[in-house]
C-alpha cells in the first residue's frame, strides 16, 4: 500500500506517454503483434477485419513489465528516481522487455495458437476477415480502465479515422476488453459511429453445426469454464462459449461462481498490485481446479493470470482459441 500514489502516478504517466508516442501501451515501435499471422497470408484489405488489438500478442511483454514494476517499486521513494525510471523506459524499455520476454515462450505459444485457432474456426464457418498486420491498432482499453477518459480521446479518434480510411464496416474481435471498447466506449466518443463489432464466439455459436465437422483429437473430454467478467457482465456473451465448446464434443462443467456471477481472475490489477492480483487469482484457480483439472477461458488476461498455476496445481488452462486450434488442425 506504501507509495501507491507515486506508483499509480508513474503508471498513468508511462501509459499515457507510451500511447501518445507510439500508439502502443508498451511503448514499442517495432511491431510484435503481427508475427503470429505471417505464415497465414491473410488478406490485408477488406470490409471486415479481424481485430486482435494486440491483446494476446502482448502477454509475454506484460508479464515482464509487471515484473519490472514490482522490482522498481521500492525505489519509487527516492527523490527524482521515478522521473529517471520513466526516461529509462523511453530509452531502453523496449529492448530490455523484448529480451526478457524471450523466456515467456509458453504463454507466447498459447496466445499464437489461440489466434490461429480463431482464424481457422472462422474460416470453417465461412468467415474470412482481413487482417491489418503491422497497421493493426491498439484499442486503448487500459487507459480507459485507469480513468484516463480525457487523455484517451485523441487515441480513439485516431484509431477510428484509420479504420474508416480503410473502408472497414465490420470488426471481428477476439477478446472481451477490445469488444467492450469498440462496442460500448468508442460510440460515446465518435459521433455517428458506424462500425459493426462482433465477437468471434457470437459468430461461431450461430454456426455450431459446421464446427461439428471438425474432428477434435487430443482435446479434453471435460472441462470447467471460467467466464470473464467483461464478457458476461458487460457484454452478455455467456452461452456462446458453451455452445461452441459443446459443439466440439467437450463436456462442460460449471464452477461454484459462474455466468453472471463469475469471479474475477485478478488480472486487471496486476499492472500495479501484483500481490493483490495473485491473492485473487489463487482463490479463483482453486475453485476451478476443485471441479476439473482442465480449465477453459475466453480472455487473454484470464489466460495469463490463471496459467501461472499450471505447474503448482497440475492444471491445464486452455484458451477457447487453443481448443479451436487443436480441433481444426487435428488429423
Amino acid at each position: 500500500m506504501k507509495r501507491s500514489k507515486i506508483l499509480i502516478s508513474q503508471a498513468l504517466l508511462t501509459l499515457k506517454e507510451n500511447v501518445e508516442r507510439t500508439g502502443d501501451p508498451l511503448g514499442f515501435r517495432r511491431p510484435y503483434w503481427n508475427k503470429w499471422a505471417e505464415e497465414l497470408n491473410l488478406p490485408r484489405e477488406g470490409k471486415t477485419i479481424l481485430l486482435t488489438a494486440r491483446m494476446y500478442q502482448m502477454l509475454p511483454y506484460v508479464i515482464q513489465t509487471t515484473g519490472l514494476v514490482a522490482s522498481a517499486k521500492p525505489l519509487l521513494a527516492i527523490k527524482g528516481l521515478p522521473k529517471t525510471l520513466a526516461m529509462a523506459n523511453r530509452l531502453v524499455g523496449e529492448t530490455v522487455i523484448r529480451l526478457k520476454a524471450r523466456g515467456e515462450e509458453a504463454i507466447r505459444q498459447k496466445g499464437e495458437n489461440a489466434l490461429k485457432g480463431i482464424v481457422a474456426a472462422l474460416s470453417a464457418v465461412g468467415e474470412r476477415p482481413a487482417y491489418l498486420y503491422e497497421a493493426e491498432p491498439y484499442s486503448g482499453v487500459l487507459l480507459y480502465d485507469l480513468g484516463l477518459e480525457k487523455d484517451i480521446a485523441p487515441h480513439i479518434h485516431k484509431v477510428y479515422a484509420s479504420l474508416k480510411s480503410w473502408d472497414i464496416e465490420q470488426i471481428i474481435t477476439v477478446d472481451p476488453h477490445t469488444t467492450f471498447m469498440m462496442r460500448k466506449i468508442y460510440p460515446k466518443y465518435i459521433e455517428n459511429y458506424n462500425i459493426q463489432v462482433r465477437h468471434y464466439l457470437e459468430i461461431l455459436s450461430e454456426k455450431t453445426g459446421i464446427l461439428r465437422d471438425v474432428s477434435p483429437q487430443g482435446l479434453p473430454e471435460e472441462i470447467v469454464i471460467h467466464d470473464s467478467c467483461v464478457m458476461t457482465r458487460d457484454l452478455g456473451i455467456i452461452e456462446q462459449a458453451r455452445n461452441v465448446a459443446s459443439s466440439l464434443g467437450i463436456y462442460l462443467l460449471e464452477p461454484k461462481n459462474t455466468k453472471l456471477n463469475t469471479a474475477c481472475c485478478g488480472g486487471p490489477v496486476e499492472y500495479a498490485f501484483p500481490d493483490l492480483s495473485r491473492q485473487i487469482s489463487s482463490i479463483r484457480i482453486r475453485e476451478l481446479a476443485s471441479v476439473c483439472k482442465n480449465i477453459i477461458v475466453t480472455c487473454p488476461i484470464c489466460l495469463t493470470n490463471l496459467t501461472r498455476y499450471e505447474q503448482e496445481l497440475g492444471v491445464r488452462v486452455w484458451d477457447m482459441g487453443e481448443l479451436l486450434f487443436f480441433a481444426c488442425n487435428s488429423p
Partner: protein, 115 residues
C-alpha cells in the same frame, strides 16, 4: 463524447453515492475484499464510502486511499447483487469516475493534489 468536467463529476458522484442504502450485500462478493481477508475498505461499499468522504473533504487523499480506489478490479459483481436487491447502482462506474478525477491530477505528477 464530452468528457465530464470536474465539478459536474463531483456532483454526479455525490448524488450517486448518496443513493447507497448501506445494505452491504455487495461486500462479500467483492474479490478484493475476499483477498484481503475481510477488510471492508476493499469492498464496493467501502470504496463508495471512502470516495464520498474524499469528495466532501472529510478524508485526505493519501497512499492507502489511492490503493483502495485503484485496486478495484471493475468486475461488476457488486452490481449484480446490488440490482438483485432492488437498488441497481452503477458501482463500478462510480469508482471509475472517481478514478478519472484522481487520474487527471496524478497523470500530471500532482501526487499531492486533493481530489
Amino acid at each position: 463524447m464530452d468528457v465530464i468536467e470536474t465539478d459536474t463529476a463531483k456532483d454526479i458522484l455525490l448524488e450517486k453515492t448518496a443513493k447507497c442504502r448501506g445494505c452491504r450485500f455487495c461486500v462479500d462478493v467483492c474479490p478484493t475484499y475476499q483477498a484481503s481477508d475481510g477488510v471492508e475498505s476493499f469492498s464496493a461499499y467501502g470504496r463508495m464510502q471512502i470516495l464520498r468522504r474524499l469528495l466532501l473533504g472529510i478524508l485526505g487523499f493519501d497512499d492507502s486511499f489511492t490503493y483502495v480506489l485503484y485496486s478495484c478490479v471493475q468486475c461488476k459483481r457488486c452490481e449484480v447483487i446490488c440490482k438483485s436487491k432492488g437498488q441497481a447502482l452503477d458501482i463500478c462506474q462510480i469508482i471509475q469516475l472517481g478514478r478519472s478525477l484522481l487520474s487527471r491530477n496524478l497523470v500530471i505528477g500532482n501526487s499531492n493534489e486533493k481530489i
